[in-house]
Symmetry: C2
Subunit: 360 residues, 2 copies
């Protein structure tokens, strides 16, 4: 998707913070060598590290021209605004990039390719518009076929949206690969697709086909892997996104789940005009996810991935300990403290599976 030869400018205008620039942070974390600069005129002159705690000395600049001077030749929209529309302030830098013949990568619910001005600029100057959230034209219906794979399917599930489900899946995959396990990652959201160079943004797919695309991706990934880590979306207990989360659960048919949560988050991320909803206790989330999985195939939560981004070191360690105690499961912050305990849990699940089916 991004390809190997692009030098990316990440557009995060006015929002280059860990909380807002989820896509930019993900690309910086997992494809750092391809990022030439970050665009945020409010923070120009700082480094990525100073703004979001990673990305080292990658500079934050004020304009597309400044990014071009640093060698950038592609623009990637690094923020996912709620609702998926295009903020008006982004039109000038996108037009500027297209006028330079750059490719533009977007994961919005509205498609840049359908915008007459952008389409004309791309055509005139030879750049391409990549709308990674545009769904494929096929219409697959899931039928529990993902159960038939020989690989162990592991789904990251969450207490809420934006808690670290993609990051947990990638960190566990990387740790398993370091141990020599053939582990694959299935991207189901825009950031994951930018990182993996493939995938389907399931939240933009017509609802009937979310489980079907998930099933297809799991079966494809399982061809060359013994463990398939599937990026979860939303939460089965979120009023807006529960259907997407359940479709992923029932399309992927995992045998193991990793429960993801952001330490300290007490309320679900829902619209501010609505009555607030508390995040459920982790132990309850384990129970409810295992219940919902069981409608398709028995599955167990094998560990907790805690995102402790907002906490100081000591508080983070305490939060991890508490998450482990309250659930009776291995817990870690896979970014801060390593994914070892989660990889251990996945390997145990693999071994238990092998011992149950010795013929395999």
């Amino acid at each position: 998707m991004l390809g190997a030869r692009k030098r990316i400018a990440l557009l995060a205008e006015g929002h280059f913070t860990p909380a807002d620039a989820k896509t930019a942070v993900g690309v910086l974390r997992y494809r750092p060598r391809e990022v030439a600069a970050i665009l945020d005129s409010a923070r120009a002159g700082r480094t990525a590290e100073a703004c979001v705690g990673l990305g080292g000395a990658t500079p934050v600049v004020a304009s597309v021209a400044d990014a071009a001077a640093l060698g950038a030749d592609a623009l990637l929209l690094g923020i996912a605004p709620q609702g998926g529309g295009l903020p008006h302030a982004w039109r000038p830098p996108i037009a500027d990039a297209l006028s330079r013949g750059w490719d533009v990568f977007a994961g919005l619910h509205v498609f840049l390719g359908d915008d007459p001005e952008f389409a004309a600029l791309a055509a005139a100057h030879g750049g391409r518009l990549h709308d990674v959230r545009r769904p494929p034209a096929r219409r697959p219906i899931a039928a529990r076929r993902a159960m038939e794979t020989g690989a162990l399917v592991v789904l990251t599930v969450g207490s809420d949206c934006n808690v670290g489900k993609m990051t947990a899946a990638l960190e566990v995959r990387d740790e398993l690969q370091r141990r020599g396990v053939r582990a694959a990652f299935v991207a189901t959201g825009q950031t994951g697709i930018f990182i993996a160079d493939e995938g389907v943004a399931v939240d933009a797919v017509a609802a009937d086909f979310v489980a079907g695309f998930t099933e297809e991706m799991v079966l494809a990934a399982a061809r060359d892997a013994d463990v398939v880590l599937v990026e979860g979306q939303g939460s089965i207990v979120h009023p807006g996104y529960s259907g997407v989360a359940l479709s992923l659960l029932h399309g992927a048919c995992p045998e193991a789940m990793i429960l993801c949560h952001e330490a300290g988050r007490a309320l679900l991320r829902i619209a501010e005009d609505a009555e607030p909803m508390p995040v459920l206790p982790l132990a309850d989330l384990v129970t409810e996810h295992e219940r919902a999985a069981d409608w398709m195939r028995p599955a167990t939560v094998v560990g907790v991935a805690l995102n402790t981004r907002t906490l100081a070191e000591e508080a983070a360690r305490q939060a991890v300990t508490h998450a482990g105690q309250s659930t009776g499961l291995p817990a870690t912050d896979p970014v801060r403290f390593g994914a070892g305990p989660l990889a251990d849990a996945v390997v145990r699940a693999l071994e238990e599976r092998a011992s149950r089916a010795p013929g395999r």
Copy 2:
């Protein structure tokens, strides 16, 4: 949508049976005066009643020309093929109808309006293409706002797809209206939209917004109603459609559910290449639906709507009795034996609600 002045020809070519022609049967049942003829060359010369058990003497004809001779001036696609594509055999009659200047109503996942041949024919002859499954452009995210309505929200849920959820909702609405209760129907699928002249086909909406559209429709319907009957889709235990079903449940935030089932159906409707899945026992379905509803708002299943279409009279009565005994709930086939027991249950739920909140 259909409007009041149209005389409809229902396209059911080769499939005008109760099991296959779900949309045609629904339109015949609830808008019989607008149907001029049914198109099915394999059954031409028979009556609707002889083919599907309702629709009286409405004739089945072999061609669009024959339907035109009976006064038809619009074509409605009366079958929903699995996957939602356009069968090749339907192209000639659709083109014929458009060449006569007719409107064509469709509820497929592929849109007739995007087909260059059909669009050109419509433009040339003055007919219109109505793709009722085309999702609105808005992107609403649900946030449990449907809880705030003063109306009692009732959702029909199911053991599987195509078991009678729309019909149950319409029959209970009609019975409540006969009793003087202000009851409204929210259509969430193509057939329901044809019948109600409004609604959103939620299975075709980008997955993130299914609950949001449901919430909007419930709030709109509740403005002029004391009971809102919401048409359910799929089933939370169906591997392909569970996400749509959960989005409806969490978007509508019902306080009451009516569990729908087709008597005698033992296996879920999934692809024939997949491992068969049994339909869950009704009592288990009650438990699981109440559990999943509770993630948003406590709700109870108040009755069972049993579709006994394939059974003889005595077997149907026994099946209804058995459904009632196995769940401890009022049960009926609302089409065959009347919706009285379900309307009674909804009225009781209304009264209990009033007694809990005397100030309202």
